[in-house]
Symmetry: C2
Subunit: 196 residues, 2 copies
DNA sequence: CGTCTATTTGAATGTACTCAAAAGCGGTGG
DNA sequence: CCACCGCTTTTGAGTACATTCAAATAGACG
């Protein structure tokens, strides 16, 4: 199983002993996902913490008009999930699927609770990454409230340069909060404006 | 010191022994804030976890055009802060001030680190509230991406019924992401539309 | 009362959306 | 290898939602 990426990620925050690492890894299962394959759909209860080792997943909601709004992309090394469903064990509002063929590690919530008791450092790790994710969402919300569509696009390109190359434009649009048509016009009208 | 609200809040997540509670409380300091008084300004480094016991604080950023965008209101029982600055100890982008005359508890980050080592249950508590806050931000972001201004306003009224009564309308506008003028028109044009 | 801030109102403007249709592009099967 | 299919992107015209700027009105507080 390809758990080395997970262990090296954890080691940037806390240092686990060999036994602790082994205990953690033994709680994991691997899963491969085909492009466009669902991992979770709206209404599901999230039973696992999900860590991406290959490919790319995304989480998104579908509004009452049928439009997708993307909350997060998860390339290798990232966690992804519907946090509300995960902590409350109630049906979630997010869909999670694979943008590319992907491989993920699944850590059952029930196992995680046991590991927290056995390995306090693991609880610290999840506290730290929850805090970091919280900071990221705070900034994203501020950006959505204060920046124009073009500024949000530029921001996205700066923050996720590797993603911009591999994502269909409509996914970028659904992340920054505009329609695919508008993003297309916005990007193609830059040269026109400069020529005038 | 009025730490009972903090202790009862914590007890909803983990149960601390009397000694542990005492140890925590001894790390706290109290501070009173007058209406409109700053606790932190953009560029400050957040050195404390801040818990509100009375009144109401808010965190917000000011964009390049001088407009305020409110990230959070914190009535009694809530934590507030610029998480990125708190965890990285770099200058923050948020302003935090008192909406009403308020009283807060300050827990220095340095003390908190010590407490984490001494009281694992406290680390669990902060993990749990970080995860809960994360879930809240995920939903808020989805709402901002998918709902109209009117729907975001109704949402706000439902989620924070006690706040709506005591906040100036322009703060509500700065939270849901519209101009004060537009919120005013929106609220006053409902009856007009219904009369026609 | 007077001052300061918040709210309301109006007209003009702008940003982004809707709907429709065409063009591009990648994969698949004949 | 080409033809076709489905999906993405582009383009255009018309529209809607929200902003800007300005000015009037209302409220709060010393």
């Amino acid at each position: 199983m390809n758990s080395s990426l997970l262990l090296s990620t954890i080691s940037r925050y806390v240092s686990l002993s060999t036994e602790e690492s082994t205990q953690l890894v033994s709680a994991l299962t691997t899963k491969k996902l085909r492009r466009k394959q669902f991992l979770y759909q709206e209404g599901d209860i999230i039973k696992h913490a999900v860590f991406v080792t290959e490919g790319c997943l995304r989480s998104y909601s579908i509004d009452k008009n049928g439009f997708e709004h993307i909350l997060q992309f998860a390339p290798p090394g990232w966690w992804i999930g519907d946090m509300h469903s995960f902590i409350s064990q109630q049906p979630g509002i997010l869909n999670i699927d694979a943008v590319d063929d992907s491989e993920i590690l699944l850590l059952p919530k029930t196992e995680l609770e046991i590991l927290y008791a056995a390995i306090p450092k693991l609880e610290r790790f999840f506290r730290l990454i929850a805090e970091k994710a919280l900071a990221t969402y705070q900034h994203r919300l501020i950006d959505n409230l204060s920046l124009s569509a073009m500024e949000r696009y530029n921001n996205f390109c700066q923050l996720y340069p590797s993603l911009i190359e591999c994502l269909p434009q409509k996914h970028v649009a659904a992340y920054i909060g505009v329609t695919p048509e508008f993003l297309s016009k916005m990007l193609n009208q830059i040269p026109l404006k400069k020529q005038v």
